[in-house]
């Protein structure tokens, strides 16, 4: 019998622990009270469950019962001391009351320690319950005295206000510390929750940034670009054309700046325009008369910071979807301009225009990447707008002048 009870208790403990570890386990809990308890535990927030789990890890099983026994002995000892100071109180009565108060305090404290969210949220209800319970007890006691013990009603009524006063005081004495503990714990909970959320957010941002940089890297050093450029260098070198050296130099500039900028989150506009210029110089040698370009960066904006390689992505898009598919090529204008509190960077091409972008999977990804990185850096304070330039496409990036 005892063994079966112990066995049952152990199973139940494991079940509770299982739910605390993973709330999904609540669905397989035994029906009845155990199921209801499991459902309640599963409805707690992850932080609350973690606190409960840590407590149960430290105190469950024999250790917990031993601690409880020690506490009960402590309460009883208190009762003995009480009896010694107030001998009118019987032994049994003193020890009984001491234990009753002690257990009430213990349960109240545990309640405040773990159930703090509810206590803080429904503090009025808890106060009402506390006062109501003790008030009813006083009234029951008074009725008992009148009806059973035959104490005159007059005497009982006379003592009632002071009894109620006492009861109120006791209720408040329990409720105030409980609320105080709960408030403290609630505050800790909020700090912890905020911290966890911030950590999760930071982790997410870091992951997204790393991913977008990786995508950038892959898109950047695409074999198509490298092989075609090296082919052009080879052809020029074969004929001793001095442009071979210039083209190689521009390619080196481009690759070096790319490698540097991929690792840094933000760069100055001067560096970004430098990168774009080396890219366009390479492309101009390759495309010949089909590409013309112009870069305009006012000296006042050279130090403005921008997420790295954003302008380059737009220029590559303009080449890939604007100039290269156009039978007669076209021009690319890249400019930066201060407009009030924002800086606008414009990439305009004279190529085939918007219609090409609509179905282009590749181009879409590049632009999505730009939008994504702008949002990661500035939130809603920045944006990318595309419109038909007739001919070609205008891509405007606006970022706040004041850096975050």
């Amino acid at each position: 019998m005892l063994r079966r009870l112990v066995q049952w208790h152990r199973e139940w403990e494991d079940e509770v622990h299982g739910v605390l570890v993973d709330p999904g386990h609540a669905a397989v809990a035994q029906s009845g009270m155990r199921r209801r308890l499991a459902a309640k535990l599963a409805a707690l927030t992850p932080i609350e469950r973690r606190q409960l789990r840590e407590f149960s890890d430290a105190h469950r099983g024999p250790r917990g019962y031993w601690l409880l026994a020690k506490l009960l002995m402590l309460f009883s000892a208190g009762g003995v001391v009480w009896h010694l100071f107030v001998p009118a109180m019987g032994w049994a009565f003193a020890i009984g009351v001491a234990n009753a108060v002690g257990i009430t305090l213990l349960v109240g404290t545990l309640d405040a320690w773990f159930n703090y969210r509810k206590i803080v949220r429904d503090w009025r209800k808890f106060l009402r319950q506390m006062v109501g319970f003790w008030g009813v007890m006083v009234l029951v006691d008074a009725a008992f005295k009148v009806a059973v013990k035959g104490v005159p009603a007059r005497v009982v009524f006379a003592a009632l206000p002071s009894h109620l006063g006492w009861v109120l005081a006791v209720a408040l004495l329990i409720w105030v510390p409980q609320l105080a503990v709960s408030l403290l714990r609630y505050r800790q909970y909020q700090v912890l929750a905020e911290q966890l959320q911030r950590e999760a957010e930071n982790e997410r941002l870091a992951r997204e940034l790393a991913e977008s940089q990786l995508r950038l890297l892959r898109a950047q050093i695409e074999p198509h670009f490298l092989f075609n450029t090296l082919g052009a260098v080879q052809q020029l070198a074969q004929h001793g054309d001095p442009r071979a050296a210039t083209l190689t130099g521009d390619l080196i500039d481009f690759l070096r700046s790319s490698m540097r900028d991929i690792r840094s989150e933000q760069v100055g506009l001067a560096a970004e325009f430098g990168l774009v210029e080396s890219y366009l110089k390479v492309m101009q040698v390759r495309l010949g008369t089909r590409l013309r370009f112009e870069l305009r960066l006012p000296p006042a904006l050279e130090q403005v910071r921008i997420p790295s390689m954003i302008v380059l992505t737009l220029v590559e898009n303009a080449i890939k979807h604007g100039i290269e598919p156009a039978l007669r090529g076209g021009g690319i204008d890249v400019s930066a301009e201060a407009l009030g509190s924002v800086v606008r960077i414009r990439v305009q091409d004279g190529g085939v225009g918007m219609s090409i972008l609509s179905g282009a999977g590749e181009g879409g990804t590049g632009l999505d990447n730009v939008r994504h990185r702008l949002r990661l850096t500035y939130g809603d304070g920045a944006g990318l707008a595309l419109r038909d330039g007739d001919p070609g496409l205008i891509a405007d990036v606006t970022i706040p002048r004041q850096q975050p």
Binding site: G231, A232, Q234, L287
Partner: protein, 259 residues
């Protein structure tokens, strides 16, 4: 394919980047001295138009070009010539080429690889042309799906001056297009217009299933075709609904109307 047995086969080269074009032509002159380069095209539209004009034996096509892509030009050429693709795309695309009968060259083109391609071409030129591209259709479809950025956007409207008006012509309402040297004549049910864009540059924007090229200078809307008449063993002409004009079908396109 009379030239196939010829000692001087004709070649068409299409490549949009000037230096790559130069390089391919120089290397080709070394690897295949007896070949005669009939035309060098800078985009897909010129390549297709030049193909119809010169009917070369072999065609070197860059895949990514302005206008018609190299894949689309190859699709139109079908079995009329031997196609060698020139591409900077990576192994994935190359695997697909390996499965087919056509050859490929990776950019930048290297002399020893070109020698091999030319050797293969020399062998093939002696064979019957049909053997070259038996699986071409499947291969091209596969490649088009695999390679991004080589899809063609379709034209829906054409702006044209008619008298003192500028009309917006819905492509679907056009009966046929006819090349008039540097202009294109657009014929509709009720009127016709002349636009400055050459026909070869319009073709890349037209759906090849709805607009059939029946001659180097003529593209007809399939829905407007009333009938095709046989004139003799090689020549045909097309009759257009509600229109008295008869449009000649060139030898290259007679197969479109075979039952």
């Amino acid at each position: 394919m009379s030239a196939a047995m010829n000692t001087h086969p004709t070649v068409l080269v299409a490549e949009d980047e000037p230096l790559m074009r130069e390089r391919l032509l120089e290397l080709l002159a070394q690897s295949w001295p007896e070949a005669r380069v009939a035309l060098v095209a800078e985009n897909g539209n010129d390549a297709w138009d030049g193909f119809l004009e010169h009917e070369p034996d072999a065609v070197f096509l860059d895949i990514r070009m302005p206008g018609l892509s190299g894949l689309e030009v190859a699709e139109r050429i079908g079995t009329m010539a031997h196609v060698v693709f020139v591409t900077a795309y990576d192994q994935y695309a190359v695997d697909a080429f390996d499965a087919g009968a056509v050859d490929y060259l990776l950019k930048p083109v290297q002399p020893d690889r070109l020698d091999k391609a030319v050797a293969r071409l020399r062998d093939k030129l002696g064979e019957r042309p049909a053997a070259a591209g038996a699986d071409m259709g499947d291969l091209l479809r596969h490649l088009k799906a695999a390679l991004p950025g080589v899809r063609q956007e379709r034209t829906r409207w054409i702006k044209a001056s008619v008298g003192r008006q500028v009309r917006l012509i819905d492509v679907d309402e056009v009966l046929f297009f006819q090349s008039d040297t540097r202009y294109t004549r657009i014929v509709l049910r009720d009127y016709e217009a002349l636009i400055r864009t050459p026909l070869k540059d319009l073709i890349s924007g037209l759906d090849p299933d709805r607009f059939w090229q029946i001659h180097r200078a003529t593209v007809v809307n399939v829905n407007a075709v009333a009938a095709a008449e046989r004139l003799d063993a090689e020549r045909m002409q097309v009759l257009i609904k509600g229109c008295s004009e008869k449009l000649p079908v060139s030898r290259t396109f007679v197969h479109l109307f075979r039952e």
